[in-house]
Every structure is written in structure tokens, then in C-alpha cells.
Amino acid sequence: MQITVKVNGADRSADVEPRLLLAHLIREEFGLTGTHVGCDTTSCGACTVLLDGQPVKSCTMFGVQADGREVTTVEGLLQDGQLHPIQAAFKQEHGLQCGFCTPGMMLTGSALLADNPSPTDDEVRWAISGNICRCTGYMNIVKAIQAAGRDTAAKASEGAEASVGS
């Protein structure tokens, strides 16, 4: 079946079997291997991508269901060659060790911040409760997501001041 998916802002087309999972469409057809397949049973969240801005587990969706829709993978976080605030914060706060869960964590975190730019500890933990990390104990992941929210807010107010000044 011929499908077209907007992946990280660009239309990508592929001729796929309907049973091909979205995770495999992204990795094998589109060559974006930042989306990891962990448990393959809807439990771990390593394969999380954003579908029209909402986190979904790409191992539990068929590629054909994404036809005509927008998918954001970890590769799409980079903006004009610059790290997205959430990527910069994960680096700064040591929000990762082995890195396997990190793409999913960052995408879930970015969707949370789009909704709620200054989440509490509990709100972050609630939002990432479908993403499993086996290294960090979550402490620095929570810190990184909160830091990314603060950085985004600080940049927005700097921008507002700059435009007032000009």
C-alpha cells in the first residue's frame, strides 16, 4: 500500500505491507534509527514518537495508520542544527546513561512541556510513567525535563525583552 507520512516536517512516501509496524517503517523504510525498539510489547516506551504532537508507542501502531499524518522522531528535535532545549537539558543534567530510552523520554518530555511548561516533579513522573529507564533511577531525567521547561521560558522572556528593546 502506498502511503505518505510527514516525518519531521518533510513528506516521505513508501510502498509498504499493511502489517509493517510504524517503528519499522521509521527505522527501515525511512532510515531513522533514533527510534528504538525495546520490549516490542507496548510496555517500555523506547519506541515513542509523536503522532500529530502526541506521544504514541510506534511498536503498537501500523505504518499505514500514519498515512497522511505527522510523525516526529528524535531526529526531528534538532532545530537548525541546534540541540532542542530538551536535548541540551538531558546533556547538561546527565539525564541518560546507556541512552536506549532517551529518544522516547525526550519526545514524551517535549510533549509534556508543550502542554505544561513548568511541570512539578509529580507531573513529570506521571507523564513519563509509560517510558521505562533501567539505568538512571529517573532522578536526572525529571531534572532535565524541568530544566528544559525553564530554559524555554527564559529564552521566550529574553526574546520578548529583545523585541521590546528594538
Binding site: 510489547t41 503498537t60 509509560g130
Partner: protein, 288 residues
């Protein structure tokens, strides 16, 4: 894991979807949010030759009129979790929604899909039993409304015919002051319930008018402990009455011993959750 091959259909209207189902019968499965169906297809426990994707047919409105709440089959758990109507007037649903699986699964999973999957460890089945809800089933032959106790037939088995689609859920609004909650014991977020209980209570002049109780993961399907409900109807809402209802509910449950707990443990949790749920429901009803 790769499901077996199937032909994928994405109809543009409900009528077209119903045509496809009447054409393919039990060779076809309906795909809504896919959060139960795709996992069972990956395990090849289901190998449908045709998938009819109804995911883009709308059918997701949550609205209140004529003394009842109507929820479209494709309302996502996430929509229900965030609904102000549910928070204000349907506390059992509002309590259950955020406890279903995990936040990411709730972005795709639907109430209709969950009910049709009829997993005895599923949450919405118990909620709808306790609330005396019914479901609307459409086919090319027509439409029928089926009450929850008749809809939930057995483990993974409902009254749905192969050519039917569940289009909406109807939940009556309680007449008098009412309250309720959903209590769920799970080992971790995303796990199936070890035990859960849905409890609804409505009062009339201070006595219990109707108690709706249903249990999750302690029988072959979502169970309604009718003796416990009957013991409360017309009774004074006392601690002793709630204790008796808890005891009767535990007796009516038939859990199995597994990695989540022993039979005695699960029965004990049923007893505690029913009593605790009733006390919470009463508090809410009195404050209403």
C-alpha cells in the same frame, strides 16, 4: 514481532465500514486505537484476514443530554481523563480513566475498543457495569442497544456480532445525590489490575437508592456482585452495611492465584476496596 498478513481497509464512512464487515464477516476485525488488537495480532492470537480501520470516522464526542452521558466509541482514554463533564458528574469514570495502562497508551486507546476487547482485567467494563450503562451496536441490518451485563458475555467475548460496530456508550445520569470511585491495585503503571473495584452510590432521602458495584480481574469477565448490590438497595448507608457488602463482593469474586497474588489475597483486596469505595462514594454523595 510481525502480525500475519491482512488486507487493510480504511473506510471513509460508518456505512462503508459496516458494508465491509457484512461482506467479510468473522474474517474481519475492527481496528480502533489498536492498543489491545495490535498486541494480540503480534502474538498471533488474532489473525484476521481483513482489518477495518475506523480510526478516522469521528465517533469520539462526549456529550450530555436527556439525563444521560453519551460517549463515542472512539473517545480516547486521554479525552476521558481530561473531560470536565466527567470530573464534575461521573466520578467513577473520572477516577478510572487515568488508571488505564499508561499515559502514552491512553493517547491511542479508545473506550469502545476496550469494551469490545472484553478483557476481564479491563477497566471500562467494570465502570460501565457499576453505572448501569449500555452500548449501541450498529450493523448494515440496523441498530440495537445492549445493556452491559448482556454485552459482556465471557472472557474476550461480547454480544457483538461479526458485522456489528460498537458506536457509542450510554451512561445514565444519577437522579439524586450520588458519588463513586474506581480503586485499582496494580504492581506498576501499565500493568493489568491485580484487583480493581468500581463503586457507585446514589442516595434518596439519606438512604441508599442504588448501589452499583463491579469488579476487575477477579473472574472470567468483569463481575457484578449482585448480592452485595442488593444488600445495599434501600438500606441505611452505615459502616456495617458497607462491611457486609464488602464481604458479599469478596464471596462473589472468583480470582485465580497467579504472579500478582493468591486467591485469598485478591479476595481480601476486593473486600477492602468495596468497603473503601462505598465510604468514598457516600462522602461524595453527601457533599453533592
Amino acid at each position: 514481532m510481525l502480525p500475519s498478513r491482512f488486507e487493510y481497509h480504511r473506510p471513509d464512512s460508518l456505512e462503508e465500514a459496516l458494508q465491509l464487515l457484512s461482506q467479510h464477516g468473522d474474517e474481519a476485525k475492527v481496528l480502533a486505537g489498536g492498543q489491545s488488537l495490535i498486541p494480540v495480532m503480534k502474538l498471533r492470537l488474532a489473525t484476521p484476514a481483513h482489518l477495518v480501520d475506523i480510526g478516522r470516522l469521528g465517533l469520539e464526542a462526549i456529550s450530555e443530554s436527556d439525563g444521560r452521558l453519551t460517549v463515542g466509541a472512539l473517545a480516547r482514554h486521554r479525552d476521558l481523563e481530561r473531560s470536565d463533564v466527567l470530573k464534575a458528574r461521573y466520578p467513577v469514570m473520572a477516577a478510572a480513566a487515568p488508571l488505564i495502562s499508561d499515559p502514552i497508551v491512553r493517547n491511542l486507546g479508545t473506550i469502545g475498543g476496550s469494551l469490545c476487547h472484553a478483557d476481564p482485567a479491563g477497566d471500562w467494563g467494570s465502570v460501565m457495569l457499576a453505572l448501569d450503562a449500555s452500548v449501541v451496536l450498529r450493523s448494515a441490518r440496523g441498530e440495537r442497544e445492549v445493556a452491559m451485563p448482556e454485552f459482556l458475555v465471557d472472557t474476550f467475548t461480547t454480544a457483538l456480532e461479526p458485522d456489528e460496530i460498537l458506536t457509542e456508550v450510554r451512561i445514565p445520569q444519577a437522579a439524586g445525590p450520588s458519588g463513586g470511585t474506581y480503586l485499582k491495585l496494580e504492581r506498576k503503571v501499565g500493568d493489568f489490575a491485580t484487583v480493581a473495584a468500581a463503586v457507585h452510590l446514589s442516595l434518596s432521602n439519606g438512604t441508599i437508592e442504588r448501589a452499583g458495584i463491579a469488579l476487575t480481574a477477579v473472574g472470567p469477565k468483569n463481575l457484578r456482585p449482585t448480592d452485595a448490590e442488593a444488600s445495599l438497595a434501600g438500606a441505611e448507608p452505615t459502616e456495617a452495611a458497607f462491611a457486609e457488602a464488602g464481604r458479599l463482593a469478596a464471596e462473589a469474586s472468583s480470582p485465580v492465584s497467579d504472579l500478582r497474588g493468591s486467591i485469598d489475597y485478591k479476595r481480601h483486596v476486593v473486600d477492602v476496596y468495596v468497603r473503601r469505595g462505598l465510604a468514598t462514594a457516600l462522602e461524595m454523595a453527601r457533599a453533592a
